[in-house]
Point group: C2
Amino acid sequence: MTKLETEMLKGTLEGIILASLSGRPAYGYEITARLREQGFSDIAEGTIYALLVRIEKRGLVDVEKVPSEKGPPRKVHSLNARGEEYLEEFWRTWSFLTERLEQLREGGK
Amino acid sequence: MTKLETEMLKGTLEGIILASLSGRPAYGYEITARLREQGFSDIAEGTIYALLVRIEKRGLVDVEKVPSEKGPPRKVHSLNARGEEYLEEFWRTWSFLTERLEQLREGGK
DNA sequence: TACCGGTACTTAGCAAGACCGAATAGCGCA
DNA sequence: TGCGCTATTCGGTCTTGCTAAGTACCGGTA
């Protein structure tokens, strides 16, 4: 992970995870795998778990413990109503940012 | 400024300033004004100055002191070769991020 | 002269986010 | 027994942006 990426992820990683959770509940290990497949190759596992705890505390996801066939029990996170709302807010802010940046990029040429 | 925006700016504000400096040298006060016009209405002035100091230390800009008619001397910052390089790198990373997020957004529907 | 407002920059202390590394734990297989 | 994969937790560090306050220069006005 480049330093640039790391810093840019701040504030967006949360939205990324919520988005990835939207409609498809998942547990930490699974989310990490999903993200890696989707191109976020080097996101630290510890980071994902810390973030999941955070969004749980904020009440954006519901958590259910499900026994696993191959390891300790999984904590399955599903986006709830508040989470959906927050996700929408996230997309709005994200759109705002991308629009501004696109403007700047155009202007810089 | 919403908390979401603040967190999302982390890691991108630097690029925003470099981009805004690209081709048009400017001093802090001016940059703040520019950004406000461009929609970043609530970026703290102190933040801009701190950031300018940082990018100067990293050698991404050249700084020249220019006397002002109405106040203390201005520190005019201009993007140098290293800064241009860094800016390109920033845009690459930014593009990567936006593509991934766009994917996620599509997938979530 | 004294003061105020606008211009311009600086600094100290704080909160939040992501990272790394290590630890804990369950399970199957050689 | 020990290795490797699954799965989660925790402590300490670095970077970033924010707030709030202060310094400094200038012109106009009372």
